[in-house]
């Protein structure tokens, strides 16, 4: 996993003595949070919040529904911290809960199907043409993602955006490793064919 897997101690200066220690591991934070320490759990929310929101958005296209699901996932993880097995990595355990929360939310209510994802683009020094081009690419990417079967969408997000291995994704999604490999391959191929040769991820 990339940034979201980092165990750095950003923003922990005003918290309990353990949290002031640099490089506190997820397992150590969970151990403290299991005693009811909200600050320790808050550090885990900081570390995994972005990944949880992205994964929820891979299930639910509407950003507000996805944020609700990610939040529900964190609440559920907080309530069930006692069932976390400290020998296993925390990230996949948490994201499994987030995926379940997103799927539950979709079942419980008719979630919005549109994809108005449009975080304010800071126009600043970017020309109107560049903004328009970026928006157009975002639209195409949104459509390409929406056309993928949900399992492929989750697999490619977990592999390419979150940096999990095929084996970790297999465990998280409870499917064979070969299926994950195939899902990532097909999802990437579909995205590339929909986005065309000129699409670039850089800003």
């Amino acid at each position: 996993m990339h940034a979201s897997r980092c165990h750095g101690g950003r923003g922990i200066q005003r918290r309990s003595p353990l949290l002031r220690t640099p490089h506190v591991t997820d397992a150590e934070l969970v151990a403290v949070a299991q005693g009811g320490d909200r600050a320790a759990f808050g550090e885990l929310v900081e570390r995994y919040g972005p990944a949880a929101r992205r994964v929820a958005r891979a299930v639910l296209r509407h950003p507000e529904d996805a944020d609700d699901a990610a939040q529900d996932g964190f609440f559920s993880a907080w309530r069930h911290l006692d069932s976390y097995d400290p020998r296993r990595p925390f990230g996949p355990w948490l994201l499994r809960i987030v995926v379940n929360a997103a799927q539950d939310l979709r079942r419980r209510r008719a979630v919005r199907e549109t994809d108005p994802l449009s975080p304010a683009l800071s126009a600043g020094s970017i020309s109107p043409e560049a903004v328009a081009e970026r928006e157009e690419l975002r639209g195409r990417m949104g459509n390409a993602l929406a056309e993928l079967p949900e399992r492929q969408r989750l697999a490619v997000v977990l592999f390419d955006a979150e940096g999990f291995s095929h084996a970790e994704i297999a465990e998280l999604l409870e499917i064979p490793v070969g299926t994950v490999r195939s899902d990532v391959f097909h999802a990437r191929r579909a995205l590339r064919s929909r986005l065309g040769p000129n699409a670039r991820g850089g800003s």
Partner: protein, 107 residues
């Protein structure tokens, strides 16, 4: 996008990663964190001994497995006779038989 995906790619694709992050990243991450922490329901604080016991359990299980394996290894009867002795004896017998056979067949 120039790179052709391969079923055995082991590393994340940087171009697809950048596009996915741009597409899926939510705005105002700090606000999201604040909302989650503020909304955390009450959670009964677990007894410290229970937490300690839960974390010690894997260690105790590993120690028990090691002890059982060590006990089984120590309990296995082992012969004091070196393995080399019977093998050397066998070799000597075979040599003499071969030598006799060769001498008899020799005109």
């Amino acid at each position: 996008m120039s790179h052709e995906p391969h079923p055995f790619d082991q590393a994340p694709d940087p171009e697809i990663r950048a596009l996915l992050l741009r597409q899926l990243d939510g705005p105002a991450p700090e606000r999201f964190v604040r909302q989650v922490i503020a909304g955390l329901p009450d959670r009964p604080a677990a007894n410290s001994w229970e937490i300690l016991a839960r974390w010690a359990r894997p260690g105790l299980a590993a120690a028990a497995i090691t002890a059982v394996a060590l006990g089984a290894w120590l309990a296995t009867p082992r012969s004091s006779e070196p393995v080399a002795e019977p093998l050397l004896e066998l070799g000597r017998m075979a040599d003499s038989e071969l030598l006799m056979t060769a001498m008899i067949r020799e005109p």
